[in-house]
């Protein structure tokens, strides 16, 4: 019989290989053998998605591969979650959205998959999101707001979100991370965001750093 560590490694592998059925099978084995579902999630599913993130960053995987791998991850997650009884422990709550006027949401969705896989709860605000909705999410207690914009024309709206959070007295306790192809460190600093990230992989790192520091 495989040892638990190996089973988790197999889970990670099956996620990275984009095999929903195989992941579901392995997740059921975890439960049958009364292994820790928590560990199966972090050392299996999340570890698998980390591999996926790396493959995506190095252009071995593209968007369809990430989406299929995330299907595989959720296939396992849905099974393991039942064994956790209550909602699984989450590292924190994060809202993600694309600014008003911009419908480029593929990047945001990939960030969402990776951030969820890393153990955060994600409130998905969607795309074309008015400033007020970012503020409402912060009002309702998310610890971090992630803002995406893919167009130079809509980028200034990220600054509007930061300003509105400020005015509402929600800064600096609500953290702000920004991203999207035209965004860079200089822009993030200029608009008063806590940080930025160039891809989904580093987005997870950035969010983990910000939320563990607070």
């Amino acid at each position: 019989m495989t040892d638990p560590g190996d089973l988790f490694a197999l889970l990670a592998e099956a996620v990275a290989a984009m095999k929903p059925d195989r992941v579901a099978n392995l997740a059921r084995q975890v439960l049958e053998r009364k292994l820790s579902p928590d560990k199966a999630i972090t050392e299996g599913l999340a570890a698998g998605m980390r591999l996926v993130g790396e493959k995506y960053a190095s252009k071995v995987y593209f968007v369809p591969e990430v989406l299929l791998a995330s299907k595989a991850m959720y296939a396992g997650f849905d099974i393991l979650r039942q064994a956790l009884g209550d909602e699984p422990k989450r590292k924190g709550r994060v809202a993600l959205g694309v600014v008003r006027g911009d419908i480029h949401d593929i990047g945001k969705n990939i960030v969402k998959v990776m951030v969820e896989a890393a153990g955060f709860e994600v409130v998905d605000l969607g795309r074309n999101v008015p400033v007020a909705e970012f503020v409402r999410a912060a009002d309702q207690g998310v610890e971090l707001v992630g803002i995406s914009s893919l167009m130079t024309t809509t980028m200034p709206r990220m600054a509007d979100v930061v300003k509105a959070l400020d005015r509402r007295g929600l800064r600096p306790q609500t953290r702000v991370v920004i991203g999207g192809a035209p965004v860079n460190a200089m822009f993030a600093e200029r608009i008063g965001a806590d940080t930025w990230a160039p891809n989904a992989h580093s987005a997870v790192q950035a969010i983990e750093e910000l939320l563990s520091a607070s």
């Binding site: 984009m18 593209f62 369809p64 989406l67 299929l68 130079t152 024309t153």
Partner: protein, 328 residues
């Protein structure tokens, strides 16, 4: 023949003209800003669209005119819900109702009649002096709009039946639209932004985008027109596949033109690719410099253009700098 048409015809015939061919992709939004008209009006009213595109051409005197309102006209005509903005491009809010999804009638559904009317008006205004192209979406992109982006890209690898169904629906629609555009006097010009190297692997491009693009190109050729193909994002690893579609002009986003030329060989006509960020935010000097670099990198079989459509708020001097770079 007038200069612009003569230049383009010579280029297509394999005799690159002394004077370089130039067309920064000015479409509805920038043209509307120039004419101090709301983008939302130019994108919905044929007369306005034709008028602002004509005025932009009169101002810059580039070698082509492109009828392009926004990326969603076909999906909208097939039933997608679209949101219009006063001063920005329209976008898709909801894909069409899936039950009963079928191709649109270009003469009466959504804004297709508007696009055709604008094409006819511009043909009247321009005659044979300037090649008139009308933008159509590539099959992969239209299919992704019909299914919903995430649903579609999420099905690409493991639900071939679903993906084919949307691709076939999209293709049927484009077949009718292409014929109608040609009747209106336009040359259909394909843009397939979702079949982008930034989104899908070269393998998926070859399996699902290329065969359908090749069919569109064949149909455009069968109508007696040349075919242009624009792909957004990083297309370097699919550049030879783009050529394999049979398109006569390959328009590319921000990629290294010298390397693209090396991979394609000297015959293929490339089009591109002054950075849209630079056009929007740079100085005329920087834009001119970038344009001359493109001319040098791509060789003679080339249409000097922008990496994607000219951002609405770009300073006119920057657009002019691209045209001037080709003329000097």
């Amino acid at each position: 023949m007038e200069p612009a048409s003569a230049r383009v015809a010579a280029l297509l015939a394999g005799n690159p003209p002394e004077d370089r061919v130039v067309f920064p992709m000015v479409v509805a939004d920038h043209a509307a800003r120039l004419a101090r008209v709301k983008v939302g009006e130019a994108a919905t009213d044929a007369e306005t669209l034709a008028r602002v595109l004509h005025a932009a051409w009169q101002r810059y005197r580039y070698d082509m005119v492109m009828v392009f309102a926004d990326t969603v006209v076909e999906a909208e005509a097939m039933g997608a819900v679209v949101e219009f903005q006063e001063n920005d491009n329209a976008f898709l809010v909801e894909p069409p109702d899936d039950a009963g999804l079928q191709s649109a009638d270009p003469e009466c559904d959504g804004r297709l009649p508007m696009m055709l009317a604008a094409t006819r008006m511009l043909k009247e205004l321009l005659g044979d002096r300037v090649p008139l192209v009308t933008s159509i979406k590539g099959t992969f992109t239209l299919a992704s709009f019909l299914a919903g982006m995430e649903r579609f890209l999420g099905a690409v690898l493991d639900e071939p039946g679903t993906v084919r169904r949307y691709l076939d629906l999209a293709h049927a629609n484009q077949t009718r639209y292409i014929a109608a555009i040609v009747r209106a006097g336009g040359i259909p010009f394909i843009g397939d932004p979702v079949a982008s190297g930034s989104l899908i692997s070269p393998q998926v491009f070859r399996d699902l985008a290329l065969p359908y693009l090749a069919r569109l190109v064949d149909e455009i050729h069968a109508h007696g027109c040349w075919a242009g193909l624009h792909i957004c994002g990083d297309a370097m690893d699919i550049i030879t596949d783009m050529a394999a579609t049979g398109a006569d002009v390959l328009s590319v986003d921000d990629i290294d033109l010298a390397e693209a030329r090396r991979r394609l060989g000297p015959e293929v006509i490339l089009m591109g690719n002054v950075s849209t960020q630079l056009v929007q935010g740079g100085t005329p000097g920087e834009v001119g410099e970038a344009a001359r670099q493109c001319l040098a990198d791509a060789g003679p079989r080339f249409i000097l253009s922008t990496a994607c459509d000219v951002p609405a708020g770009s300073p006119p001097e920057n657009v002019q700098a691209i045209v001037d770079a080709a003329r000097s």
